[in-house]
């Protein structure tokens, strides 16, 4: 009884929060609303990729392909059938999300097949290759607008904030429930050691295939909504840069941590968007900043590997290093600014992806397991914070 109570209560809370978010969003301008929708879509993408990469350990970096399949299915069906559709927009979006999910799941099955024989780097390149093949094939179909793209009907000028929020919640819920219950153990087992898990009776093939299909299904559903929200799609929107962005969100959050992926998705999406508005940045500051980052990373690595004091002292050293490097960056920038060739400015917008790249590299050098590593946000963690003892029925992820 308690189980069902909690479940129904959490579903109601999710619906209420999504509704609240939509009401909040309606108060802002249409561009911000679109950003909120995109944030939700990226969260779905990151969590679904995490299912494949982090939880099942299959290194897939072609996730944009599934996103694209979902988007184009929705666009194509919308152009053909929406004029004759006389129902609620919400119903249409749900239908499109389902169709997108189904099409993407089929694609995921196809891509997942090589994973049965390949591991690690090879699998990564193959999935990247599949992503490119899907993009190029779609780019050459006249029915799908070729390189020129498609204008999508319906264009949801009233951004579907609530729908996207619910989709993201659904994705997180499915992944979390998978992880915390007995159904999720095979995925974790396959990640840790395929041979041992096979010896223990886990159907490794089925597990991998399901992971790919499930992860890609969610990406496809997100893609369907993306197409309707944006109003116009072309193959360039789904290139390898997108796959790599989603991958960096998963890596930043911590492969294997759903909370981490969700939070990292929102952060890594928000920062570049905010930087669109950034005015000019001094060139000298950029050089100074890069130098400072390099110094800070080496110093932090030294502290991590060679200093064996208590955690508090080490944390204090880290903070000191960061402050010190900011100071050094400003000093170097000031000095370099005197040189006429380096006195110019650079538009802030250009720095967006540079920042992403630097974040990736620094992260790998300093904390390769990601910010959240394997940890999740859960009630037991909150209870631990409050001092109560954690229950012992936890499945450690």
């Amino acid at each position: 009884m308690k189980f069902w109570g909690v479940r129904i209560a959490s579903i109601l809370v999710a619906i209420l929060l999504s509704f609240g978010l939509e009401k909040l969003g309606r108060g802002t301008d249409s561009f911000t609303q679109q950003l909120i929708v995109f944030a939700g879509l990226y969260v779905t993408l990151a969590v679904s990729l995490n299912l494949i990469n982090g939880i099942t350990g299959q290194f897939s970096i072609g996730h944009a392909a599934f996103y694209q399949v979902g988007a184009y299915s929705s666009a194509y069906l919308g152009i053909k059938f929406y004029p004759q559709f006389h129902g609620n927009l919400f119903v249409w979006l749900t239908l499109m999300a389902l169709v997108g999910a189904a099409m993407a799941a089929v694609a995921g099955l196809i891509v997942g097949l090589p994973s049965l024989r390949l591991k690690g780097d090879y699998l990564a390149i193959v999935t990247l290759g599949f992503g490119e093949i899907v993009r190029i094939v779609i780019q050459n179909q006249k029915a799908l607008g070729e390189s020129g793209g498609l204008n999508v009907a319906p264009h949801t000028t009233e951004q579907p904030i609530m729908f996207v929020a619910l989709l993201a919640v659904l994705c997180i819920a499915v992944c979390r429930n998978l992880l915390k219950t007995a159904h999720g153990l095979p995925f974790l087992a396959v990640r840790e050691d395929e041979v041992a898990s096979s010896a223990m009776g886990v159907n490794v093939t089925a597990t991998k295939v399901i992971a790919f299909a499930l992860g890609s299904a969610f990406a496809g559903a997100a893609g369907a909504i993306y197409a309707n929200s944006l109003g116009f799609i072309n193959p360039d929107l789904f290139n390898s840069t997108l796959s790599i962005s989603v991958l960096s969100m998963v890596v930043l959050g911590g492969t294997g941590s759903i909370t981490g992926s969700a939070l990292a998705a929102m952060i890594l999406f928000y920062i570049p968007e905010k930087m669109r508005d950034l005015k000019d940045v001094r060139l000298a500051l950029i050089i100074g900043g890069l130098l400072a980052v390099g110094l800070a990373v080496s110093a932090i690595r030294y502290v991590i590997f060679n200093v064996h004091k208590s955690a508090a002292i080490r944390a204090a050293m880290h903070v000191g290093i960061i402050i010190g490097s900011v100071v050094i960056a400003e000093i170097v920038a000031f000095a370099l600014g005197k040189i006429p060739a380096l006195a110019g400015t650079v538009e802030g917008a250009k720095l967006r992806l540079v920042v992403s790249a630097v974040v990736l590299i620094v992260l790998m050098l300093v904390r390769p397991q990601g910010v959240f590593a394997h940890h999740e946000f859960s009630w037991s963690w909150v209870q631990k914070l409050m001092g109560k003892k954690a229950p012992s029925t936890e499945v450690a992820a």
Binding site: F31, V99, A102, M103, L109, S147, A153, H183, F232, A349
Partner: protein, 421 residues
Amino acid sequence: MPKFSIRCGLAALALSVVIAGCDSKPAETPTEGGKPAAEGGKPATTGARPVPTAEPIKIEGDTIKVGLVASLTGDQKPWGDDSQAGAKMAIDEINAAGGINGKQVELLVQDSASTPAGAKTAAEKLLSSGVVEILGEVSSGNTIQIANSAFEKGVPVVDIGGTKTDLTDIGANIFRVCYSDAFQGPVMAQFAYDELGLRNVALMTDNKAPYSQGLSAAFKAQFEKLGGKIVDEEKYDTGQTQFGGQLNEMKTKNPDGIFMSGYFPEVGPIAQQARQAGIKAKFMGGDGWDSPTLLNSGGDAIIGGYLCNHYNNKEDRAEVKAFLAKWTKTHGGKEPGTTMAALGYDAAAVGLEAIKMAKSADTKGIIEALDAIENFPGVSGKITLKGGNGTPIKQALVVEVRPLAEGFQVFKKAYTPEMIK
């Protein structure tokens, strides 16, 4: 495992949807408007363009917000920079003279990154900032997206350089200050047939750019009408750098002219590689060639080619001279590199004139005022939008590509719509 069978079921469902849904008719690329077939040099007159149904946005506050979408990064940066500089110059002039009806004009600029998706985002951002008019862009693919977004809000768009014929059919709020491909294509076809005496022309089309596709189609229609023959049609994508495959095929068809309807980043290499492959045909193109960087990437091969442009810096008109004087003063003595500078200036000037003349201080009034513009003295020629369904009737100049020392674009012949047979 129950979950597995659910997945299998879904997969089967998906497959059946795919099989059932695959019929042979391809979906047409839709735009929110009709599709006219323009004839000769006359603008499309197939009747009503769709009228925006959104509530008109009033001009409120102490400034008039005007938006500009420009390609400030990416392949078309030379055009975007020029269009921004030109528009800014026009707006600064009007503001210095007291603004419009006492209010200063505030220009909000967003970068489209030379891509249609970027243009759409830029337009959305501007629309949500409350602009009453949008200027832009320099290429048709980007302008189509701006037009779609603006149509939904009923905001007027003054297109700077997008020449695709059916651009203005997206909505009654779309206007432009340049000629359309319905004129440009036939002009080059006429020039090729009459002046150059070409009879067997091959088309080299950028399959990724709506502009190039439209221009090639317009050229082909007129050229075949005159009695010429299109012997080969090759396609490439924007961004390609090696065209050996397409050119090898073209060579076997023995064309005496190649019409390259794409943009300058690709046209240069195409010309070079064509000469390298042994093709001796004459090269022709549209205003997509217009950039000094064409000489860098085209080298010796592009010298002697012909392109169709909007106006020429050497023209003897008062507006051109005044514009050049103002431009060289603020740009260190250099003349504008591309026609987008003048077109940007004209677009802003026309757009602001419409705001001034608007009977009601909202977007609906501005649209009506734009529809009534007659004989506006633009740098790129006299602009009349009245009765033109959004496209002005202007002259086109055919110029020859010469080295920078000789003046880059040397005027050869002017065409007006009556000269198209």
